[in-house]
């Protein structure tokens, strides 16, 4: 480093003092402000990070569309082979099967949502969910598995029993309303 002018001993001494002080654990007013600002920035980003945390959901496919339920509400995932039809059941009630030690009804989400479709032919899986002590199954064509959906960009659904819809059109079901509202 080459010095172009006379050495500014005043400034040098000040920097040296600052360095000594910070080595000794105390910061000058300038540094203290900077450190505090840095800390604030760090704290702020962690808060921000918390806010943009993702939601763990179990995603599945039915009627060619993607739906999800919160992982916490999943009771069990089963093959639909054990499904037994119930006598004179309406079309949206596909039947019942055994999930752990319970016998649970299995619903056809397509009909509950007023979509096309019917019958068990292409429904290979059953996602059994629990909500407020009620355990019931939702028949699915295919499981996508557990995915983390970033909370950012979630939009409330315009209609239907959904908590929200993700930008990629994955819709999170509101189990409090599924099967209790309109039946298609």
């Amino acid at each position: 480093m080459a010095a172009d002018g006379p050495v500014d001993f005043e400034a040098l001494r000040r920097r040296l003092d600052d360095a000594t002080r910070s080595l000794a654990g105390e910061a000058g007013p300038e540094a203290r402000r900077r450190i505090l600002e840095e800390r604030a920035a760090v704290v702020a980003t962690t808060r921000e990070a918390v806010r943009t945390e993702s939601v763990p959901v179990l995603a599945f496919r039915v009627g060619g569309e993607r739906y999800a339920v919160e992982v916490a509400s999943v009771f069990q995932v089963l093959e639909s082979r054990g499904l037994a039809p119930l006598p004179a059941a309406p079309p949206w009630l596909l039947g019942a099967l055994v999930a752990r030690t319970r016998v649970v009804p299995v619903l056809d989400l397509r009909l509950l949502l007023g979509l096309e479709g019917g019958g068990m032919s292409d429904l290979a899986k059953v996602v059994v969910v629990e909500h407020e002590g009620d355990v019931f199954g939702l028949a699915a064509e295919d499981l996508e598995g557990r995915i983390e959906v970033p909370k950012e960009g979630l939009a409330p659904a315009a209609s239907g029993p959904f908590h929200w819809v993700a930008p990629d059109r994955l819709a999170l079901l509101d189990l409090a309303r599924v099967g209790l509202e309109t039946r298609g």
């Binding site: 119930l86 006598p87 004179a88 009630l93 019942a96 016998v103 009620d134």
Partner: protein
Amino acid sequence: MERSLLRQLWPIFSAEAREHLAVIGTGVLDLERDPSQQGVLERVRRTAHSLKGSAGSLGLADLERLAHAVESSLAGFDASEGLSRDAVQAALDAIEGIEGALAAGDAGEEPRVATLDALLSALGVEAHAPAGHTPAAAEIAGQASVDGLEAALAALCTPLEPSERSRAADEAARAAESLARLPGQAERAGRIAGAFRSMAGGGEEAARAAAALAGDLVDLRESLEKGSRPAAAAEASKAEARGDAPTDRSIRVLASALDSLARQLELLTLTEGRHSRRARDLASAEAAMREATGRVEEAATALRSAGVATGRAALVDGVARLRQVAGDVARLAREGRRDAEGQRLAAAVLREDLRALRMVPAGLLLEPVRRVAREVAGRLGRDVEVELTGGEVKLDRRVVDALRDPLVHLVRNAVDHGIESPVERIAAGKPVAGRLSARVEPRGTRVGLVIEDDGRGLDPDAIRRSAVSKGIVTPEAAVRLGEDEVVRLLFQAGFSTAQEVTEISGRGVGLDVVQEALTRLQGTIDVRWEAGRFTRFDLEVPLSLAATAALLFRTGRDVAALPAETVERVLLHEDGELGTVAGRVMLRVGGEQLPYAHLARLLGANAAQAHGSRGVALILRHGGQRAALGVEEILGQQELVVSPLGARVAAVTHLAGAAMLDDGHVVGVLAAPEILRRAHPATAARTAAPRTRVLVADDALTTRSAMKALLEIAGYAVLAAADGEEALALLRESGAQIVVSDVQMPRMDGLGLCRAVKADPKLRSTPVILVTSLDAPEDRAAGLEAGADGYLVKREVERGKLLELVRQLLPARP
């Protein structure tokens, strides 16, 4: 309530209350989002009502009042306006308050709500008239006499004979003076007494005194009600201090632990079934093996006699080995059978033990009755003696839990609507104190709960009026309902005989809740009464809710089950035993005719129908109703644990639940009450859309009544007229889809009626059937000439001809 009992019940209450709160919370938020959801509103109100009931039955005054306030804050809910922000906030705050109290209770503290008054007023309820406390005797007396004074004031404001006036005023003044002994009321009591005295003379002075009196009475009532709260609290703490806990040699078991045990036991039973089946399979495999070995031996013999020697030794050796293996398999089968048998015995013992664990004394159920009755009676100024019996009968814990709310509802109703005020009782020559009894009685595998009061009984006319004004039935339908059917209306949602909204009996979410709870328990409810003498509610429920024996059968293409206790018998029937009576298909069973329906068709399943000359029928019985139901095939009987299918399937009313068979398959369990309801078209039709109306005209009362009954049984609504003129008037006024008329009648005969109908442009299309005792060709010709659409001789009426003709001539319904 005794502290020890409260502690014992607390975990149940706390868990249940939290569920209720969750429902209320989400419901309120849902309503805020979308106010048009009538079902949600109903659910929230009902849940709040249940919460109020259970809090009340445990004597948790704060929680009861808050729950009631939540319920009433929704009473005036208008879907077009929705819920205001404040209302939602108030409800959520109330939930939080109750949750706080529950948490305190969980920690073993007193479940109190600290900010009760603020929460109540936010919900639009004035923080007076505490609901849950038991006022001290003096206060009850004080409030009762305020009622008396108000009545006296009202009486004095009406024109009276001078002598009577001064007597009434004097009496009221003396009553007012007696209030002076109440703490802090001396001055006010004196003022009131003076005012009553000055009303004795009438005139202007009396009017001034009346005005002052009215104000003083309101103040008096308010201060009495405020004053009684600390008194109640003092009484409660005294009861606590006594701490007289009876030392019971029992431990508390969480209901959920019992449920889990039951489920595991059920799994054990399933594996037991599989084991014994495997043992049977092994045994038959062994038999098959021995048979095959025998064949091989035969072949070996044949080969030897044919002179083939090559490989014979190996063949003989193989046969011997095969026999040995078959012996091993046989041993395995025997052992398997023994193990399965041992497991079955162990499971049976376990099941019995579990059943015993679930049983608790009915005293737990009856406990709140006395308190609830006394409290309601206190509020209404009535006197009630309570008699409880059968507390030692043991009941399934879950049955006790499920019956608690219904019982409290019924007790409240009995005191509120059943037992008269002391004045009425004296006038009716009854003892001043009403009697209320609640008794539990064992009835085989079921248990009865009877709640009876010696009050005024039911008033079918009042129920009819109320049902009509609430739009539950049409006025015409109400008139035609028999007394028993009228009483059934009490159990419909949205019905209450209470003329005004009272805190005591609730707002029409009472008896329907009772009915619902009974349905869930596979129970029945029956009401008997005699005007002016008694009302008796008879509830019957299964002793236990554990595994029930069930009958398995095929209906249509499905396999289904029914609880065996609802199936009286199974029988094979010939075609000849089926016939129609009054247009309904009946099956002759022994000497009686039972309504018959093919189950699959009744349920609306697409049943491939190839009916042979014989069939299998189940005779179903529940709550006094019976019917025969055709099924395809009986598959057997099995012990099943029926799982309810939850709220989402509740709309499928014919399903009670589902259960797992011992081969692991799942089967739907049908709801016997609903099947019976559908199998009885008369009861089904009444709740259905408006019925086809038939006008019957005949001057002979017997013929008229007979035809009316015949048509009504077939599901028609019948208007009756005594002659042609009356018939024509009725027809123009109320209308009917078809007319059945006698020919010979006074004033206007059948021919005249027929001509009049056909001449009226509005009535012209209404078919007319003439019924006559004459059967001469010229009469028939006269009838047809008059425009009659059908002609019938009276003796043909009984033979089903009338119904046939009515059905043929009725215009097709849109």
